[in-house]
């Protein structure tokens, strides 16, 4: 069966969304002083890198950047078997930071719950905020994003995929219907 794929956001659209989110983050946090970005593997880490570049262009400051793999903290490991575990790299102290978690697609909220548990094991940030490129709805936990690239109403059977090129630059966002 052939799946129907529709591009819902192109490269220019993604770039604009990242730029707007960067400005919103700076406005909300009144600058970049205590900011830190943590990208969730895989996808969120690449977007967090783009956000860091954009924040640097706007403010001239390099915001600390980390990546986190949440597999060790998943709530469905028993049902999923052994998923591959990626590397977590947070090369700075989280205590007192205004942490912005970055993910590509926000769906049930379970990934974010896992990521917050993981962050708490690393330190005690002042705040944890959430930035996502796509919010597709269907939350199963009381979690919401502070910064959203685009809200995309979806059905549960559908899938949203952020496509990255071989050079790890975002290409487009696709909505895949079963």
């Amino acid at each position: 069966m052939v799946k129907a794929e529709t591009a819902i956001l192109d490269k220019a659209g993604i770039t604009r969304a990242i730029t707007r989110i960067a400005h919103e983050i700076l406005e909300h946090n009144k600058g970049s002083e205590k900011l830190a970005l943590i990208g969730i593997r895989t996808g969120g880490d690449l977007l967090a890198g783009l956000l860091q570049t954009r924040l640097n262009e706007i403010e001239g400051v390099e915001v600390p950047l980390g990546t986190i793999d949440i597999t060790m903290y998943r709530d469905d490991l028993a049902a999923r078997g052994n998923l591959p575990i990626g590397k977590t790299e947070i090369p700075f102290a989280l205590d007192g930071k205004q942490v912005v978690l970055v993910d590509d697609v926000l769906y049930t909220g379970r990934t974010i719950r896992s990521a917050m548990d993981a962050l708490m094991d690393f330190g005690r940030p002042n705040t944890i905020q959430l930035a996502v490129l796509i919010d597709r709805g269907h939350r199963e936990l009381p979690i919401r994003a502070d910064y959203v690239g685009r809200n995309v109403p979806t059905a549960r059977e559908e899938d949203v995929e952020v496509v990255f090129s071989e050079t790890q630059a975002p290409v487009e966002v696709r909505l895949i219907k079963p």
Binding site: T71, M72, Y73, L77, A79, G81, P84, I85, K87, D121
Partner: protein, 312 residues
């Protein structure tokens, strides 16, 4: 390409892809060990029994720490304090352990094949922590992880393993693992300590002259003279052994300048390895111990995933 092994009985049963996945998973878990808060909830609610029917400090401690850092409940039983001394058979001990519903049994036993015997008789996962002179898979995996860390890749490495090959389960597991990963193994020891036909286990060349064995090697791994396993005298004296098969500041220079020196421990300083080399800049012996915890976390995580997929 997911992991399919419910038990880790030996390296012999693992494929190159399996080994690669274990090492990659070990790399990821290593980060947990560098945190201030060294615990992740991955195996919460799982029970792991470390059944060590033979003396061990390093391996038992390493498995116990690995289990605890993954939030599992780890319980230790050792041969000398268990009902084995009261005459209970391994099968009865296993059945009794199983009745308490553990998820993983980690077993060390003086008899080769004991973990296999156990795996056929219990429902939970079995991890071999060393059986007789057969295999010691977690040791070989931490050796490979350490080599990969220092050399970038295992393929093409020349690895010299020197000492009592006959009694060494570490050597057997390393031969399987290194051969599968594309490294070349040079085995060296006195004739009495080199089993006939050992070269058939993998990509192996056998030496009796240590100088030839370590010439241009990338890795020099020294094995302990296992005095407790010598049923009949295989060497005239420890002094003579040290002279012909000990690693010292002179013969180490025959290896590549950036060669690393490994030892599975415990070391007999002054016998198979001189203190100068054991504490020298080329030694990675404590890196091996550090990686041991990470690689054992990977093994427990991977077998536990297979186990829970089968029961749900």
């Amino acid at each position: 390409m997911s992991f399919k092994h419910k038990h880790i009985l030996g390296i012999e049963q693992l494929s190159k892809e399996d080994i690669q996945l274990i090492l990659d998973t070990g790399d990821a878990f290593k980060e947990v060990n560098s945190r201030d808060l060294k615990k992740v909830p991955t195996l919460r609610g799982k029970t792991i029994i470390n059944a060590f029917f033979e003396a061990s400090t390093r391996t038992r401690l390493s498995f116990e720490i690995a289990g605890k850092r993954l939030s599992s409940d780890t319980v230790n039983i050792s041969g000398s304090t268990s009902s084995v001394v009261k005459g209970e058979t391994l099968e009865d001990t296993a059945k009794n352990i199983e009745a308490m519903a553990p998820d993983i049994i980690v077993i060390r036993h003086a008899h080769s094949g004991a973990p296999h015997y156990l795996a056929e008789r219990v429902n939970c996962s079995v991890v071999n922590a060393g059986d007789g002179a057969h295999e010691h898979p977690s040791q070989a995996l931490l050796d490979l992880m350490t080599m990969r860390e220092h050399k970038g890749s295992i393929e093409g490495l020349e690895v010299a393993i020197i000492g009592d090959i006959t009694h060494s389960r570490v050597a057997r597991s390393d031969i399987y693992a290194l051969s599968k990963m594309g490294a070349k193994v040079r085995l060296c020891g006195p004739g009495t300590m080199l089993p006939v036909g050992i070269e058939r286990l993998g990509n192996v060349e056998v030496f009796t002259d240590m100088r030839a064995a370590i010439k241009d090697a990338d890795v020099v791994m020294m094995l302990r003279i296992q005095l407790e396993r010598q049923s009949n005298i295989m060497l005239p004296s420890l002094r003579e052994y040290a002279r012909f098969y000990g690693l010292n500041p002179t013969n180490i220079q025959l290896a590549k300048p950036d060669a690393i020196v490994m030892h599975p421990g415990p070391m007999n300083r002054g016998v198979e390895i001189s203190s100068v080399v054991a504490d020298g800049v080329q030694n990675v012996i404590l890196d091996q111990v550090e990686n041991g915890v990470a690689v054992r976390m990977a093994l427990l995580y991977l077998v536990s995933g297979v186990e829970s997929m089968q029961t749900t």
